[in-house]
């Protein structure tokens, strides 16, 4: 083995160790601590867990609400995807993009905007009150129904995006073949299109299930008395019962992993569809009236789906204390935004979130590049382990990681590689980084796999060393993957709430916590303004980077 190959194997080993320390070790410590009592091994935590009705309720609640979210999201996302792919009408392109927008918005922003639109003091409720003349709110946005409603409303996007991509991958000839064999349109759909869409549907279902299982913002704000595991963990932890919180954490992890395995197993023989060729063109609508009608329906649907975000914008313009019981706010101002920028106490979380998200993104991208190069190019012995380590945080709920990091890094034991990071400004960026690994890692692994190795060989044969090849050839050619990975990672870190709520300190409180604080002090306008900033930065980063594809 020559020097370079040895170096790669060594780096592969070291990176695997680093990732194990970051990703697996903290969860391992939780598992060990959960069964460690004053007199050694104990199952008290588990006994406690199994004996309490509350825990069973939370477990069951998490499970059924996640399944129900999958079903409801599919019911919204799949028809939307088919509608926007198959039919052509004025405004189709822009609407198709708009409908996908919630994918890049932080969950907390979605929840917040729901509160303002569909909450008991939201626009819709006020409108009903105005019409009926009633003083009591017509409904309460609380409990399982509310959670389900909010989650389906925001997670349909996964089904929408996956199915759209899946439909694009089906060659026109598949439809034509079915038609020439005498199949009706319905038969073609059930016998040809649906089976070919199976990998997309399975992928979306898994993503929705895991997101719903890990969902914290919606149950936290709308749950009321309804228990799910994520909120249960946080409240147990706040009550000081650390061991029980650990057991709960393990239970939630187990469900997530079972879900992951289940979908992999169902979709084991992933279909290799006709990925080449071209999908059929969207069907233009002949009659002018039908076209106008269709266009109207599409706009209405998009409007309905985007209404919460528009509401957020509106609320952010309401001055403090001016809006009491009118249907629409009586006064508008930019004052809330001015407060964000001019009040040092308010401006600080913006900057804190910014630097933490940037640091976490840079870290995740650097690790992603290393993993991509070591796994795809050097095929180091630890390749499979590296890939697995990078993907794992995807399946593990954010609450679990927060608890795991809080447990692992609240002890000073350098020999066990444990340091006190909780309470420092390092812990949150580190948590974001771990959570961002799958996004950055997957983008860069895919980029590396698409990158023809002869580019690197060409650079070498022209006398360029490793660093020069990386800087002048690999990074420019991986640009779109780098940008995609970095964008998703940044947006996730910038708007993070789940891990932050467990790990923040006053000095590192991010935007999400400040939103919550403002909401608690009834400073609705400022909370909304933060939300709008989050929304705009996320959407801007996303749009700016998705348009500039390198010219071919």
């Amino acid at each position: 083995m020559n020097r370079r190959a040895r170096g790669a194997v060594l780096s592969g080993g070291l990176l695997a160790l680093l990732l194990t320390w970051l990703v697996v070790y903290p969860i391992g410590i939780v598992a060990v601590d959960a069964v460690r009592g004053a007199q050694g091994f104990t199952l008290d935590g588990f006994r406690d867990f199994l004996a309490r009705a509350n825990e069973w309720q939370a477990l069951w609640g998490s499970l059924w609400i996640s399944f129900a979210t999958v079903v409801m999201s599919a019911c919204i996302g799949v028809p939307l995807a088919i509608f926007f792919t198959r039919y052509d009408f004025p405004g189709r392109r822009i609407l198709a993009q708009l409908v996908a927008l919630p994918a890049v918005l932080p969950p907390l922003v979605g929840v917040l905007s729901f509160l303002f639109l569909w909450g008991e003091t939201g626009f819709a409720a006020r409108l009903v009150q105005q019409v009926t003349g009633s003083i009591d709110p017509p409904w309460r946005l609380q409990g399982a129904g509310a959670i389900l409603f909010v989650q389906a409303y925001s997670m349909y996007v996964y089904f929408y995006l996956f199915v759209r991509a899946g439909l694009r991958g089906i060659d026109a000839s598949a439809y034509e073949a079915a038609e020439s064999l005498g199949a009706t349109r319905w038969r073609t759909f059930t016998k040809v299109v649906l089976p070919l869409l199976r990998p997309s549907l399975a992928g979306a279902a898994l993503l929705v299930f895991l997101s719903a299982l890990a969902s914290f913002s919606a149950p936290y704000l709308f749950g009321g008395g309804f228990r799910v595991m994520t909120t249960q963990i946080v409240s147990t932890r706040l009550n000081g019962d650390d061991r029980l919180a650990m057991v709960e954490t393990l239970a939630l992890t187990a469900i997530a992993l079972v879900g992951l395995v289940l979908v992999r197993w169902v979709d084991a023989d992933g279909l290799i569809g006709g990925s080449k060729g071209a999908p059929p063109a969207a069907r233009p609508i002949g009659s002018r009236r039908a076209r106008a009608l269709l266009s109207c329906v599409a706009w209405l649907v998009a409007l309905f789906l985007l209404l919460p975000h528009a509401t957020l914008l509106l609320v952010s313009l309401v001055p403090l204390g001016t809006w009491t019981n009118e249907a629409l706010p009586p006064a508008y101002t930019l004052g809330n935004y001015v407060t964000l920028v001019s009040d040092p106490v308010r401006a600080r979380p913006l900057l804190t979130s910014l630097w933490m998200a940037v640091a976490a993104t840079i870290g995740a991208i650097a690790i992603g590049l290393g993993v991509g190069s070591l796994v795809v190019r050097h095929k180091v012995p630890t390749a499979r382990l590296l890939e697995w380590l990078v993907a794992l945080p995807w399946a593990v709920p954010g609450t679990v990681f927060a608890i795991a990091l809080a447990t692992a890094f609240s002890v000073h034991a350098p020999a066990a590689l444990r340091f006190i990071l909780v309470g420092t400004s390092i812990i949150l960026p580190l948590a974001y980084l771990v959570r961002n690994l799958p996004l950055a890692g997957r983008a860069l692994l895919a980029g590396y796999r698409r990158l023809d190795p002869s580019y690197e060989e060409a650079a070498a044969s022209l006398g360029a060393g490793g660093a020069r090849t990386m800087r002048r050839v690999v990074i420019p050619l991986l640009r779109s993957s780098l940008v995609a990975g970095a964008t998703l990672a940044f947006v996730a870190g910038f708007g993070d709430f789940v891990t932050s709520v467990l790990l923040y300190t006053y000095d590192t409180r991010p935007i999400s916590l400040e939103i919550l604080g403002s909401l608690r002090s009834s400073d609705v306008g400022v909370a909304a303004a933060y939300g709008v900033v989050l929304m705009c930065v996320s959407a801007a980063v996303f749009l700016a980077t998705s348009e500039r594809e390198p010219g071919r």
Binding site: N2, R4, D452, E457, A458, S461, L462, G463, G465, R468
Partner: protein, 361 residues
Amino acid sequence: MTPDTFLALDQLTRRFGDHLAVEALSLSLVRGEVLALLGPSGSGKTTALRLLAGFERPDSGRVLVENIDVTAVPASRRRFGMVFQHYALFPHLDVGQNVAFGLEAIGAPASDIRRRVSEALEQVDLTGLERRRIGELSGGQQQRVALARALAPEPRVLLLDEPLSNLDPTLRERTRRELREVIRRIGITTVLVTHEQDEAFELGDRVALLRSGRLEQLGTPAELYGRPATPFVAAFIGRASAVPVIVERGVTGVLRLRVPGGGFWTLTPEQETGREVDGPAVLYARPEALRFASGTDGAAQGVITSLRFAGASSLFGVRLAVGHEVEVAAPLGSAQVGESVGVLPSRRGQGGMHLFQGATR
């Protein structure tokens, strides 16, 4: 290895798992020589080229340049220029930046780089295209940019991996001539890999025919065609029909062959290669070395099964017996499909009949 050997492969072996991609391959080139590595897919020719370039490490064996072992020298310091099958032009850089890449990597001064880039582009007839984007070039132009990029840092050896396979057939022939001219003009020692005989024959001073990772025969194009060393060479180079025969060697050096279809052919020493053959053998006959017989005297009897128009003469498929067919080159109209004919060795021909002892198909 002769004293004036410039580039040598010495007993190179490369394994991929259980598969021997290249086995004990030894070749040597004098300065300025062009060697073509020819072979079917899976013959190990690309692996051999990648071993030369330094992209693969041999399990054993050495690569020598002017008698200095460069086996352990990484590709980036070997100073071998390479043109890739799909060119691997950097799509994010323009033509000039692509050509300058190697010059920058070896640290040439900026003023020098500009001059040498334009010189390199001039060499391949692309003067003034420095600012063009790669995506705006035609396939032929991309091929020439790839050549200019490889040549700009003045490498010691030029490696070409299927340099013309990405071009459409009409462009291929012209580009082949141009490529040949550039290589000759510069006089650079070159190794090229191809699966096309025409390409190997036109570009290579010598051709190394590889099969399953081993060198089957090394020689000039004429040697490979006229004196194939093995049945594989005879069958791979040009067209040849294989028929089992029984050889009876006469005292005068004249050979008599019993051929399927009741043939009894006489060959003069000039007509065949394979002097030592006697008894059961396999005959590889070129289509032009066979003719239709006017009489039946000694001719192998058969039926015409196919006819392929091929310019000056057509190729007739003749079935002599079940499972034994030969191809005969004759003017169009000499015979019809379905007609019974007799086949004899061509009278005018020299060579074109290759006998190999005992081997059966």
